[in-house]
């Protein structure tokens, strides 16, 4: 008489699956819920700061030709807009500790904090090291970063997917 393949003999790794799911879930699921898609905050707050920050890096004629690795790694792709904005807004915060005009710092803060607030992200990330922060003293990179943040907001507010 044979014993049936029974519940007694359950593979051990089954018990590891639920915890694994719980660990991986924050990585897989988006942690930002974009608010302000009606555009009111963007129109009345962020647009103003973007216009004031527009002259940054304007005198550098070769600015747009420079390639920055940041934009090769991060872009405002479809379904990844929130992720990009979160990363870019955090990158923007690093310039608040640089030697730029106070008024420009104020508007950089508005764009950075305003974007993060509208993204309504739940997960906080660790602060970047000072070493990396020094690398950000690049007005050309700042100009491109601001343009990409603005472009990504335009894409979100338009509301249609790129074909």
């Amino acid at each position: 008489m044979t014993t049936p393949a029974s519940a007694d003999h359950v593979p051990w790794y089954i018990f590891g699956i639920p915890p694994l799911i719980l660990v991986l879930l924050p990585v897989a699921s988006p942690d930002c819920e974009i608010e302000g898609k009606n555009g009111e905050e963007y129109r009345h707050v962020l647009t103003v700061s973007f216009e004031i920050l527009a002259p940054i890096g304007e005198n550098d004629s070769n600015c747009l030709n420079n390639e920055h690795n940041f934009f090769k790694k991060h872009s405002c792709d479809d379904d990844k807009e929130a992720t990009f904005l979160k990363t870019a807004a955090r990158k923007l915060k690093h310039f608040l500790n640089t030697n730029i005009h106070e008024e420009l710092k104020h508007h950089l803060s508005i764009v950075s904090q305003g974007t993060l607030k509208l993204l309504n992200c739940t997960r906080k990330e660790a602060k970047k090291s000072l070493k990396e922060q020094r690398k950000q003293d690049d007005m050309c990179f700042l100009r491109m970063l601001l343009q990409q943040i603005k472009t990504c907001w335009n894409k979100i507010l338009r509301g249609t997917k790129e074909h």
Partner: protein, 369 residues
């Protein structure tokens, strides 16, 4: 059958890649996902070569029309020699980063002057890179990066509608296909008494309220749109919409009638009178004076039968009207038919018979005194 010796065959094989190396002009720098063909055009002339000055390429301008199609154009007539320039484009750091040549060139005088891109080739929020190139001189090229969301020109607003919100309040509304919340609007209006337009910038809501209107005036409204600021930062306005009117349209007619009455009619009348006077004066000069006819009794009582004095005709005119010859009365008679001719003449011979109606000349010239 003879076979080529193996060392010779391998040597032939080895030579093929060497031939390929010889053809490429310089070391190609890796540039991400760009095609090798594009890399070829990216390199400048090899070092050590003399640089020859080349005329600059015209500037390329791109506009996205209502996100339906895009035109990238350049001034082909600015070239010293007519050249069919070629256009390449790609999107930077994107899934659409493959370099492509224009598939639909625009021509001006049989020379390429632009490129038409269809909707599927437009990715508004990717960095658009366009390169204009001289196919006969590959080093002669110009590259430009563009943000297409700032180059959108929308369609003009349509279906302008007016309605009264109250006795003096007017609401203008309109529609814009496709882009709605991405647009802002500029409304212009003027009355028939104004000399210039009054304008008002309106956000994405397609309506405008005029709080106070004068019912005696006629107003004209028109609207245009711009892809700004939510979905892009274009500074390019659309065309104006068709205008719409509201109000007392007769005020226009009254003005016209008044102008007719006050200006044209008096001027016309004066002109008519003046022309009649001119005609009369001209007639006076050219036509002889007709003697005035006075009372016939005066001819007898006052002028004693002196007709010329009575009629006012001058003596000279009266004499000129007198005949300068005397005329005797002629008796003209008809020769009777055969069998009795009462009117036979002194000749009486058949040979002297004349035409029954012939009469001798009866006048003599009066000698001049």
């Amino acid at each position: 059958m003879l076979k080529p010796p193996l060392p010779l065959g391998s040597l032939l094989f080895l030579q093929l890649p060497l031939l390929g190396v010889g053809l490429t002009p310089a070391v190609l720098t890796p540039s991400g996902n760009e095609d090798i063909t594009a890399d070829f055009f990216l390199t400048s002339t090899p070092p050590g070569n003399l640089t020859v000055s080349t005329p600059p390429l015209p500037e390329v301008q791109c506009f996205v029309f209502n996100i339906e199609y895009m035109n990238c154009t350049w001034n082909s007539s600015s070239q010293p020699q007519p050249t069919n320039l070629t256009l390449f484009y790609w999107y930077k750091n994107s899934d659409y980063d493959k370099v492509q040549e224009c598939g639909h060139y625009l021509f001006s005088s049989d020379i390429t002057s632009g490129c038409w891109l269809q909707k599927e080739e437009i990715h508004l929020y990717e960095t658009f890179v366009v390169r204009l190139q001289d196919p006969w001189q590959p080093s002669r090229q110009a590259t430009k990066k563009l943000k297409l969301q700032d180059l959108v020109i929308p369609r003009a607003p349509e279906n302008l509608t007016l309605r009264n919100l109250s006795e003096s309040q007017l609401e203008l509304s309109w529609s814009n296909r496709d882009l709605d919340h991405c647009l802002e609007y500029l409304v212009q209006y003027q009355s028939d008494r104004d000399h210039s337009w009054t304008e008002q910038l309106v956000d994405h809501r397609p309506s405008f309220t005029l709080p106070s209107v004068d019912g005696q005036k006629c107003y004209t409204f028109r609207v245009r749109s711009r892809y700004n600021p939510l979905c892009g930062s274009s500074q390019l306005w659309s065309k104006w919409s068709r205008p719409i009117k509201w109000g007392n349209h007769t005020s226009n007619e009254t003005l016209l009638l008044f102008a007719l009455k006050a200006v044209f009619i008096p001027l016309g009348s004066m002109g008519l009178v003046i022309s009649l006077i001119c005609v009369y004066c001209w007639l006076e000069r050219t036509m002889p004076r007709i003697p005035t006819l006075k009372n016939l009794e005066d001819l007898v009582t006052e002028y004693h039968g002196n007709f010329s004095a009575w009629s006012g005709v001058s003596k000279g005119l009266a004499e000129s009207l007198q005949s300068d010859y005397s005329e005797r009365f002629c008796h003209v008679s008809e020769i009777p038919p055969k069998g009795g001719a009462p009117g036979e003449g002194p000749e009486g011979s058949p040979s002297s018979q004349r035409s029954p109606y012939w009469a001798p000349p009866c006048y003599t010239l009066k000698p001049e005194t």
